[in-house]
């Protein structure tokens, strides 16, 4: 039995459907992420799991019990808020002890457990400080210690790393993963950052306009996005309009606008005439100097339009002869070598046929 199961959960605000018939189940011990652009309904969904909001219809089962109408204080579910929500008038110790006091744990036991919890998050020296005397990362740790101290069934996190700077965020991500492994508590993480979702999660549910578009492991979501929205939302990707011209049991022939035909393995429920996009990740695109053209199959000629150097890699924007723009990501592996090509260099681009995916448009 799944630890948490949502069945046909719907939440409307006036005419706006924030959460539109969402069903999903989360196993015990999982690190699960709700990912989507702002306004996709992920926070509303989280609030309903925490109990701050009630679904208009549908059920929320925790350990097999419908908790959709249970008050937040009665749920074995804790939340780490985006702003940390540490009590400003309490010391770190009092903040972390709060949930234990609420569940009437004996004072001696509280003292012991708070000390242990602060050690776990490497903050024993800060026990008597107030939240305003802590840095962002320290507040973050206190918030986690407080959320985890009385071992909830579920820990919900609403963009908890959003307020940290990039370097600290990466450290916290690593800490978060090891923390979750250590305590074995199920984490549900909400974020709009696809990097964060890919780095942290065991499974991701991608949401858009109140609906869950795809659920899967990070590599499945990144490698085989279910549709145009997910392909576009997760990471960078080249999308080229295409049409199915022919489909058989063994192959699917597509006409890419301006690039000619390509043949891919067949996919289910696709018919000749279907419209869609060919999706190809920038790191799958190879760029060569013009001279080698003859040796490369499925190659297209073009010229470098622009590039973006970010240190470890350089992204080239290449305009093909047909006018289509394609991005290619090349690693700058040899030191001191900033880039391979200059603007206006004539180049040829190619990609392995199996790396391209056809994503059909469904009305």
């Amino acid at each position: 039995m799944a630890l948490l199961e949502l069945r046909n959960v719907i939440r409307r605000f006036g005419d706006f459907t924030a959460v539109d018939n969402v069903s999903l189940s989360i196993e015990a011990g999982e690190f699960f992420t709700l990912l989507g652009p702002s306004g996709c309904g992920k926070t509303t969904l989280l609030r309903m799991i925490a109990g701050f909001d009630v679904p208009d219809s549908g059920q929320i089962f925790l350990d097999g019990q419908d908790i959709a109408n249970t008050l937040p204080e009665k749920r074995p579910v804790h939340t780490v808020f985006q702003s940390y929500a540490l009590f400003p008038h309490m010391t770190v110790t009092d903040n972390v002890a709060f949930p234990l006091k609420m569940s009437k744990v004996a004072p001696a036991e509280i003292k012991k457990r708070v000390e242990k919890a602060l050690e776990e998050v490497q903050l024993p020296k800060f026990a008597h400080r107030f939240p305003h005397e802590l840095s962002g990362g320290q507040k973050q740790r206190v918030a986690f210690a407080r959320g985890l101290i009385n071992r909830p069934r579920l820990l919900l996190m609403d963009e908890p790393l959003g307020a940290l700077d990039a370097k600290l965020r990466e450290d916290m991500q690593r800490e978060l993963i090891s923390l979750q492994k250590e305590v074995g508590i199920t984490f549900i993480f909400v974020t709009h950052s696809q990097d964060e979702a890919l780095a942290l999660s065991q499974r991701i549910a991608v949401m858009n306009l109140g609906k869950v578009e795809q659920i899967g492991t990070p590599s499945v979501i990144y490698g085989t996005p279910a549709n145009r929205f997910i392909a576009d939302f997760i990471g960078k990707i080249n999308l080229m309009e295409a049409q199915v011209t022919q489909i058989s049991n063994t192959a699917m022939t597509l006409e890419i606008n301006g690039l000619g035909t390509t043949v891919l393995p067949p996919k289910k429920e696709i018919q000749a005439g279907d419209q869609g996009v060919i999706a190809i990740r920038p790191e799958q695109v190879a760029v060569h100097a013009l001279a080698k053209q003859a040796e490369i199959p499925h190659a297209h000629t073009g010229k470098v339009l622009d590039f973006l150097y970010v240190g470890d890699v350089t992204t080239y924007v290449i305009e093909l002869d047909s006018g289509i723009q394609i991005e290619a990501l090349l690693a700058n592996s040899s030191p001191g070598r900033a880039r391979f090509f200059e603007v206006d260099d004539p180049v040829i681009v190619s990609w392995p046929q199996e790396a391209a995916q056809f994503l059909v448009d469904r009305p």
Partner: protein, 300 residues
């Protein structure tokens, strides 16, 4: 930097002078007055009165005396009036606090566009004259009012004796609470409005019920507002004289009435000044205590 400092000084000079001249100097005059003899027909006795001072063998502080202080400490009556004033002021403060807190919370939690309107309603009574409002209470609490008739007939229906509400400590309390309630509501609202609502969510999420959320999260954070509101009620009530004059009975004299009588009735300026100084010391002690309590916990 220097220029900035200079500007700051120049800007703050006029109000500083104003305070110095119209607060510090009168206070000094009052202190000096309290050590002098009263004049025969009010005012003060002249400083050089050789025939009396020489006779008493005074060593040089002509016309100065501790008489007023001796008088103050010689009669338990004055201590009692001080105590009673403190009781009335404390009671008014507590009643104001209990009544103002829910109102301030309601305003702070209302939609932003209604808050200013609600604050306006709170301060609206200030638009009519203070004395008129107190006289209105005199009529409301008076024996002929519909309110009195209602209270007394209800009491009689349950077999109790009818009561006279006017000219009683009860009437004084009604008056002080009525007048000072806005002074409690405003600082409380200013404080409560700044509270982050997500803290209440966090407390609830971590297992706190409604009652615990109030006492463990809202109340401790509101203490600065509670203390400043309490100071704004307690201190004026301690020194007021108009309300007990109008609504209180003969036994309901407070320090304010006593001081007023010294200057306008008995015309004993030194004793009036002594009483004022004692009141000021008492108020200083109380405000000192309040500031100490309201001080945010100092980080280590």
């Amino acid at each position: 930097m220097n220029k900035f400092h200079l500007t700051r000084w120049l800007i703050s000079l006029p109000p500083t002078l104003f305070l110095l001249i119209f607060f510090a100097v009168p206070s000094l005059i009052m202190i000096v007055t309290s050590f002098r003899f009263p004049g025969e027909y009010g005012g003060l006795a002249p400083l050089t009165a050789p025939e009396t001072t020489v006779a008493e063998g005074d060593s040089g502080l002509y016309g100065m005396t501790l008489e007023a202080y001796q008088f103050f400490f010689s009669d338990i009556l004055y201590a009692e009036i001080f105590l009673k004033s403190f009781v009335v002021a404390t009671a008014s403060t507590l009643i104001c606090l209990i009544m103002a807190y829910p109102v301030a919370m309601l305003i702070a939690q209302s939609a932003k566009k209604y808050r200013n309107l609600m604050i306006l309603l709170v301060v609206l009574p200030f638009a009519s004259n203070f004395l008129i409002r107190i006289y209105a209470w005199m009529i409301i609490l008076g024996p002929e009012s519909a309110f009195s008739h209602f209270i007394n007939s209800t009491l009689q229906a349950f077999g109790f004796e009818p009561v006279m509400m006017l000219f009683s400590p009860f009437a004084v309390l009604v008056g002080t609470v009525y007048v000072h309630l806005p002074f409690m509501i405003l600082p409380l609202y200013t404080n409560l409005e700044k509270h982050d609502p997500v803290l209440l969510d966090a407390a609830q999420d971590l297992g706190a019920n409604r009652w615990q959320r109030f006492w463990l999260v809202t109340w401790p954070q509101s203490l600065p507002g509670v203390f400043s509101g309490s100071a704004l009620v307690f201190i004026p009530v301690l020194g007021m004289f108009a309300i007990p004059d109008i609504l209180g009975g003969t036994g309901d004299i407070l320090i304010g009435n006593l001081i007023k009588d010294q200057f306008l009735g008995t015309r004993d300026w030194p004793f009036g000044s002594t009483l004022s100084i004692m009141l000021m010391l008492a108020v200083l002690c109380v405000t000192g205590l309040f500031t100490l309590l309201a001080r945010p916990r100092v980080p280590r």
